[in-house]
């Protein structure tokens, strides 16, 4: 009796022990938000006292990347920040250097296609700053590691047809191996001999570059002289652009080599535009417009200064840089009907 009882107790004990699991150690909590501070439309996505610029959607529309000035770093580098499509906390920073160093590094002009990104990176000696960056480069990199990139072109450079570009902007991916951008001249005029110099960027030409080889092959796009803005359709065959001091949005079909006028935003010169899913958004005369078919809607507060709107791949969200009262820009989200 006693033996049997002891056996049963022991077997039961072993079974219970084996079935139990241990207590887990504590884990760090998950900080951060998954929606804007004040949800709605428009919703302010960033509150950064520094600059938040040039957003670009990931191909699947789940998140977007933008250039964020890192106020928490002594070098105030501008890094690529990744934010969920609906806003909230930044999920990833990608910077040229992991920690602050003696240079100011900037990642800018993100253009994403598939799992790669083409962007412009600039660096400047932090304590001996000259006019303009010390080094400016156009690179292509995997999205997973932006610092593992391949140099496409050191800027400035002179094209085969003899034009010299100091910088590029509005970089757009046409497909995996072709990009389009605005070649720019950059000057630093001073109002007076003791005045702080200004930076003036002037679009010279629209350029299409084949970056599949070790050396890029450049083509100058006809009808694209003195451009103000540039974007491309998802098919990679159509380029939408505007010219300086012009209210028209133009369209160039590469396969047919035809250029035509898409629309005329009579409010003023078109300085930035974006196209997606049949919708066009543009900054014209300082205001932000959405063109959906024949309907033209002004978005946001007319007193704000908008830049670089970008429509999500499905056309239902618009993110735009806006300057309100202060000198620095924040990102805003418009949920579109």
């Amino acid at each position: 009796m006693r033996t049997r009882s002891s056996t049963q107790v022991t077997v039961a004990l072993v079974a219970v022990v084996a079935a139990c699991s241990h207590t887990e150690p504590f884990r760090p909590g998950q900080g951060g938000a998954n929606e804007p501070l004040f949800p709605g439309s428009p919703a302010q996505l960033t509150f950064n006292p520094g600059e938040d610029l040039v957003p670009a959607w990931l191909p699947d529309g789940s998140a977007f990347i933008y250039t964020a000035e890192r106020g928490d770093r002594a070098d105030r580098d501008r890094c690529f920040a990744t934010m969920p499509a609906r806003g909230g906390s930044i999920t990833r920073y990608a910077c040229r250097t992991q920690v602050a160093d003696d240079s100011i590094n900037v990642f800018d002009e993100a253009a994403i296609r598939g799992d790669s990104i083409v962007y412009v990176r600039a660096s400047t000696e932090r304590f001996l700053q000259g006019l303009g960056p010390d080094r400016l480069e156009l690179v292509i990199a995997p999205l997973s590691d932006l610092n593992a990139g391949r140099l496409i072109q050191t800027l400035g450079f002179t094209t085969p047809w003899g034009t010299t570009y100091d910088a590029v902007s509005h970089v757009t991916r046409l497909d995996a191996n072709r990009i389009a951008f605005i070649g720019e001249r950059v000057t630093y005029p001073r109002g007076c001999s003791s005045c702080v110099p200004d930076t003036v960027r002037t679009g010279l030409e629209i350029v299409i570059a084949d970056i599949s080889g070790a050396t890029p092959a450049y083509t100058r796009m006809p009808d694209g002289d003195n451009p103000a803005s540039l974007t491309a359709a998802a098919n990679g065959d159509t380029i939408y652009f505007s010219l300086q001091s012009d209210s028209h949005v133009l369209r160039r079909t590469l396969s047919t080599a035809q250029t035509d006028t898409l629309l005329d935003l009579i409010a003023g010169p078109v300085i930035d535009l974006t196209v997606s899913s049949g919708r066009v958004s543009a900054v014209a005369g300082g205001s932000l417009y959405l063109v959906d078919g024949a309907a033209v809607t002004e978005l946001g507060d007319p007193s704000w200064l908008f830049e670089r709107p970008v429509l999500s791949p499905d056309g239902t969200r618009l993110i735009v840089t806006a300057r309100r009262t202060g000198p620095t820009a924040d990102l805003w989200l418009f949920e579109l009907p």
């Binding site: 009796m1 006693r2 033996t3 009882s5 002891s6 056996t7 107790v9 022991t10 004990l13 072993v14 219970v16 022990v17 139990c20 699991s21 241990h22 207590t23 887990e24 150690p25 504590f26 884990r27 760090p28 909590g29 900080g31 951060g32 938000a33 804007p36 501070l37 302010q44 996505l45 960033t46 509150f47 950064n48 006292p49 106020g71 928490d72 920040a81 934010m83 806003g87 909230g88 906390s89 930044i90 999920t91 250097t97 992991q98 920690v99």
Partner: protein, 914 residues
Amino acid sequence: MSPRSWLLLCALFGAAPLAAQTNGAITGHVRQRTGQAVSGAEIGFDGRWVARTDSSGFYRIREARSGWHSVTVRAIGFDTMRRDSVLVRAGQVTVVNFTLDVYTIEQPIVVEAYADSILDPTMVATVQRISGDELRRFPVTTLEEAVSLSAGAVGESYRGGRLGQQAFVLDGLGVKNQLDASTGPLGVRIPPDLLTEASLVTNGFSARYGQAISGLVNVVTKDGGDRWTGRAAYESDRLLSGSADMGQDRAVLAVDGPLGRGIGVVAVLDLDGKLDADPVNAPSPPEARDPRNASPALLPHNSGERYDAAAKLRIPLGGAQTLRLFALRSVEQRLLYDPLYKYDPRNAPARRVRGDLFSAHLQRATNNFSADLRAGYFAREFLRGALAEEPSYRIGAFTGRTFHFIGEELARSQDTALASAPIAGFAAPDLTDRSAWGVPAFFLGGGSRGDIAWNHFRELRAQADFSLGATGADFYFGAEIARQRVRTFQRALGYLPVGDSVPPPTASSFTPTSGAAYFESQLHGADYVVTFGLRYDQFSPGSGVPGSTFGARRSLNPRVGFSTVLKGATFVASWGRFSQAPDFQYLVDAAFDDTLRTGRFRRGNPNLGFEDATQYEFSVRARPSEQTTVRVSVFSKRLDGLVASVPLGVDPDSTIFGNADFGTVRGAELIAERPLRDGWGVRVGYTLQSAEASATDAYQLIRRIRIGPGGDTINPARVEFPLDYDRRHSLTVLGQAQVNDSAGPRVLGVRPFAGLEAAAIVRASSGLPYTMTNATGDTLIGLPNSYRLPMLMTVDLLLRRPLRLGRWQGSVYLDARNLLNRRNIEAVRRESGMPNLTTGAIDSLAERAYAAHPEAIPYESPRYRAFADLDGNGLIEGRNELFPLFLSAARDYTQPLFSYGPPRLFRLGVELVF
């Protein structure tokens, strides 16, 4: 003559070797019932006829291995008698007397007396032992824990010595981590189930043994028996919940038995996993948002797993020859909690130590001459750094996978040129945004410290020991030689290229050679024993160490012991000189990172010599009653040639290692014991000790420069202060109790208390010394180690209830450590003398952190914490909003976790013996 006198006399003439660490002896008389001696009787030992009685009927079996044996006596005209279960303990004499009847069918009478190490005058050494069975009965898990119960032990420091001043002897073969014993583990662990017994010898140990100046840990392992037996045990705290569940699992499987042809085998597998391998009894943090607040017991990324597997073969070769083969592999993998990485623990460091030990022992033993030839291979690999990938647990803390480290292959290749560039896989750490407070302060993430440290130590050792017995004297002599191979590699801040504050990687590869020879004799007088030994040690770092100019270093170490029998007591006086080669790590350069993340370069000295100790001791051993024993020892030990950093020129920052420091340890030890009889037993050990260092340390000397009355600058030659392990008072009480099988009430047909065993260990000791500094930490207040930690006390308990499972026996047990859950303070901050920083110091830390990062935190930042945005404007800005976060972060970061000893730990165990 009284029985006691007979006993003593027998012991005198049947002298055992002086602390012959593996073996003991059996002596006795064979007489007829009339008292007449039986001469010429043959004495059998484990089935071999090894001795004959002399004309007085006396016999002696020398070199009897520690453990259980059978002794047989036969003589023409007398009954053959066999006595099983004769216990021999290393270094002791077991007395077995036989009384035979002539041509009788009556049951013969056997008089047996077990070893009396208390009154045995041949026992010169100061030995404190614990058997394998005792280790199982007490609340201890490892051999190290068991040895630390000895008087005079502070963890693995003995009689005031530092770590690494002890040697490890396994079945007579010396094993030592000669590379970094003062800072690192041995690398191999003997599973307790393999033990016959373990002992700590702190003085008077045989000239056979060297490489130690403070203690000798002697381990004797089992031989395979003549029938199959085994033990399987599993213990865990899974059944407990909340803070009582500390994630412990341990499984043991041990078998031993015959393989035929007299071959015996023992094999043990011992697995131990802990989700928190270094648990602390630190208070809960005051901040509710601190993630540790809700779960203060277990620390993340602090788990450990140990795998120990050992096997031993005993192969009789016929006649008096026996071959023993032993193999042991130990692997320890640890994740190391680092407060810097509290919120990004995957980047915290980890460690892996693997040790392999193989040995062969050929023994030829006749009763008057024995020869032991031993060969051993010991290899140890140590790795510390950041893991290449985060491990995942399978069962409890067991990952079942080998840890791999970033830069591991580079370290093994010792390619310092390649390692001067940033090492692939390392990323620079940054102030993490994952802390509960968000602010960029204190806590790191995104990358590890960038360290990789690797070393590999390998040793081939050959050892020959001989003993010769003669009338009135025993002689021992032998020699050993060890060929070692040392390889090291270290790189700090591996995510940065070498230069500026990043020290160059260091690597070394050299092949030292060590050798020793000894002679020892023990002369027996009428009521005294004189022991004399002489040991010669030599080591040479070999040609691979740059800058080595001294060649081989030599040391001659005489040892003398005298013991005599007084009325009811034995008095022993001993004097000895001991030496050990320095840690080889101090011969070569090293690069490492410190807590300030500034890489440091440490210069080695290839010309270091032996560290020495000269010790004399007087002890009295008495037996006040038949069941109680008392041992009192007083000792004085002079340490000399201790390795220290000494000035190199006049720049206090420019130092090199030298054999410059010395010190004195004086103390008294009292051990009173009543073995387990009549249901209870107790052992009390008390140590009073003073351990003073005399230092020539460059930093200390520069600090002690003073202006004399005459205006002269006085440069002190040395300073004196307590040694790190100067524990003044230490009390250890071991108690055992056992209820008989029919005791207690019967409940549901079972007597729950029947056969219940209880063992308790109570430890109380005064605190170790520590050094205080000023608030900034850059100036010492007073001499080093001139302040004391508070006293420590723990109570450990093991309750065991035997069970019977069919044909198998077993038990269930509860192992409780620190039963009273006392919060022992084991360390304090040097600037405050308390575990915590002062409030002012925490404020100051927070202020500095805030001043470094006063920038606003926007809503979209991962650093944003809504609770801190008091005006809800999407920005944490200004002192009112930011500073409280920095203050909380400072409180969090400065939690004194590792200032506290372990909390109360429980384990429930099940054991089957088959």
